[in-house]
């Protein structure tokens, strides 16, 4: 997916861009509202990540102005404030959702998915791999015309594995991506979700292999 990140703090912007790039997303960075306006003229984005306090103005005003000119790209506001009344305020200005800093990227992914799903989804979100097609927005797998719903963690696990087929992911790596750092997770928790995902993949050429002592990988035969 292609993001426009509007954030005046250069270090934060770089970090967010790098992290989203690791998940295979393209990120353009605008440090000011003026830059953001230029970017929006030059390219189309799946989603705008917008900071509120910017050197050349208030993100909410920018958003309202953009919406008035017919700019309809989905917007998630990154705010330092957490109250729902701020949220109502933001949604009134035309934002689709908001997330508080520091951003939990698992939560950001979830919100992005929810926003794009609500908006009917971007066309390129459906991925084909071997004999299955995967739609992360609707959290569905289609195998030989049969649709299977994935639960949240199954979906995220599949996304991680599908991002690099044949690559081995250790249990730890998967745990870090799947569970909140605030949670305590038992060693075999990941096995539960791998087991469930395998059931959902049954009948497909796509398998999750256990690589003894190393972890798991996604392969297609």
């Amino acid at each position: 997916m292609r993001f426009l990140l509007v954030e005046d703090n250069a270090e934060l912007a770089r970090s967010v861009r790098d992290l989203l790039a690791l998940d295979g997303h393209g990120v353009d960075w605008a440090a000011t509202l003026a830059d953001a306006t230029d970017c929006l003229k030059a390219a189309t984005y799946d989603l705008i990540l917008l900071d509120i306090m910017l050197p050349d103005g208030d993100g909410r005003k920018f958003l309202q102005a953009q919406r008035r000119t017919g700019q309809d790209t989905a917007v998630i506001v990154m705010t330092a404030r957490s109250s729902v009344s701020d949220r109502v305020d933001l949604l009134d200005s035309g934002a689709d959702d908001f997330i508080t800093k520091p951003v939990d990227f698992a939560e950001l992914e979830a919100r992005v998915r929810a926003v794009l799903r609500r908006r009917g989804g971007a066309a390129q979100t459906v991925r084909q791999y071997a004999d299955l097609s995967f739609n992360p927005l609707t959290a569905t797998l289609a195998i030989h015309g049969e649709t299977r719903d994935l639960r949240n963690r199954e979906l995220r696990l599949f996304e991680i594995l599908l991002a690099a087929p044949d690559r081995i992911f250790s249990k730890d790596q998967l745990c870090d991506r799947l569970f909140s750092y605030a949670e305590s997770v038992s060693d075999n928790a990941i096995e539960v979700y791998v087991g469930r995902l395998r059931k959902k993949l049954a009948g497909s050429a796509v398998r999750i292999e256990t690589v003894r002592g190393l972890g798991y990988r996604l392969t297609a035969t």
Partner: protein, 463 residues
């Protein structure tokens, strides 16, 4: 404002003003009485003197020197003129030289003999009463010798006294009437003096707690310094409060931005590192960042709650709507743990009065707790209630419960349960909830469910 200085100014200005006005009225009434009394006395005396003088002179005019001596004609007309004054007794005495020729020989003589033709007047005690006496002196020629003849007429003063008393009584009545009239008038005048003060007080009192505009109410000149001082104070208060609000917003921004960088960088490093030791350290770091972010937002929430409780301006709030909105905001966070967030009983509005930001902060902390302490794939129920004059919401999880911890102790600042060491938390969440509840006149209760899990119940007065 306690202590000696302020106690001097206690009591009512109005009462002081009324009392002062009444004292002045009383003094004026008494002065009126005495003035009238003295004037009446002297007027009565002057009248008596005039008649006495005329009578005495008239007798003296009728003195005739004859060969045998001096002849006096005491005409009845003369005495009847004197009788006009009232039931007063008359005494007379005529001296020729040193000898009393007729009348009462003990009638007191004047201290100094009159020298002119005019009568001299004086008052002397005589027998059992006071006499007003007129004395006229004439010189007659008897046997070719000039002989002084003195005519004295004395009259008791009962009649004059009666007239003076009558006048004085009227004066007393007049004084009393004046005073009686002064009572309502001074009350009226005190009210009219204090009306502008009362109006100003009403205008200031009618304002809402968040109305910090300067006072523009018209005030009399004497109140201008008070209004100016009040406006100065309001301006300072407004400054301090807006600084507080700005400070909370700025603090949030300045704390969260560096934490965001730290967290994101740590997450990138974690993704890229294969070294298990480094990964463990990075996980610890991210956990610590999450903990400080949470503490920061709860400290700021706490400051916001205290600040807004002080400034409370209640409005009608639909608890059901806030609950839906909070549930909606937390849905992705719950989904990450595959938790189902269910709102029940929100079919009808659940109206209360309060500050929506406070209620929402309380509810947010309750839901955050429920999600935090729930096992994955469970359900968190947000149940709206309406009973016994209170609307409420129960946030029930299927988590680990309280493990016998005292629910009241858990609401103390920075207090956490004994079974939660593995979960990030600041111990401020429930403090925020109880402070909100205290500010809005509601109640909060934590109960352990028999089938496991905890219910946090918030109740607010129905409106």
């Amino acid at each position: 404002m306690t202590g000696g200085r302020s106690t001097q100014f206690r009591g009512s200005l109005r009462a002081r003003l009324v009392i002062q006005l009444l004292v002045i009225a009383a003094v004026l009434a008494v002065m009126l009485y005495f003035t009238v009394r003295v004037t009446a006395d002297s007027a009565a005396e002057a009248t008596q003197d005039a008649i006495l003088g005329a009578a005495t002179t008239s007798i003296a005019e009728q003195l005739r020197a004859t060969d045998t001596g001096i002849e006096v004609d005491l005409a009845y007309a003369t005495f009847s003129m004197l009788g006009a004054i009232g039931q007063d007794r008359l005494f007379y005495r005529i001296n020729v030289g040193e000898a009393v020729v007729t009348g009462y020989d003990d009638l007191p003589m004047p201290d100094v003999l009159p020298t002119s033709l005019a009568a001299a007047f004086y008052t002397r005690p005589y027998l059992d009463t006071q006499l007003r006496i007129a004395a006229v002196r004439r010189t007659m020629v008897v046997e070719n010798h000039p002989v002084p003849v003195l005519v004295l007429i004395g009259q008791t003063r009962a009649g004059q006294q009666a007239i003076a008393d009558q006048l004085a009584n009227r004066a007393a009545l007049l004084g009393l009437g004046f005073f009686a009239l002064a009572v309502p008038l001074s009350l009226l005048s005190a009210s009219s003096v204090f009306k502008p003060i009362n109006r100003l007080a009403e205008a200031v009192g009618r304002r809402g707690p968040r109305d910090l505009r300067p006072v523009r109410h018209p005030a009399p000149l004497e109140l201008a310094p008070l209004v100016t001082a009040l406006n100065g104070f309001v301006a300072r208060l407004r400054g301090a409060l807006s600084q507080t609000e700005t400070f909370i917003a700025e603090a949030a921004h300045h704390i969260r931005t560096p934490l965001s960088i730290l967290r994101t960088q740590a997450e990138i490093a974690l993704r890229q590192s294969d070294n298990e030791q480094t990964r463990a350290r990075l996980r610890t770091m991210i956990r610590a960042v999450e903990e400080s972010a949470r503490s920061a937002s709860q400290l700021l929430d706490h400051a916001m709650v205290l600040y807004r409780s002080d400034q409370l301006e209640p409005v009608a709030v639909d608890l059901a709507q806030i609950t839906r909105s909070v549930a909606h905001a937390f849905a992705p966070a719950a989904d990450l743990k595959e938790l189902l967030l269910v709102v029940e009983g929100d079919g009808a509005p659940r109206m209360t009065r309060g500050d929506p930001m406070l209620i929402e902060a309380a509810l947010r902390n309750m839901v955050d707790n429920a999600i935090k302490y729930s096992e994955p794939e469970g359900t968190v129920r947000l149940v709206l209630t309406d009973a016994a004059g209170m609307v409420g919401v129960d946030v029930c999880d299927q988590g680990r419960g309280l493990s016998g911890a005292n629910p009241v102790a858990l609401t103390a600042r920075f207090s956490r349960g004994g079974n939660v060491a593995d979960v990030v938390g600041s111990g401020l969440g429930l403090t925020i909830v109880t402070e909100v509840v205290a500010a809005l006149g509601g109640s909060f209760r934590l109960t352990e469910q028999p089938e496991g899990g905890t219910c946090a119940s918030l109740h607010l007065p129905r409106h």
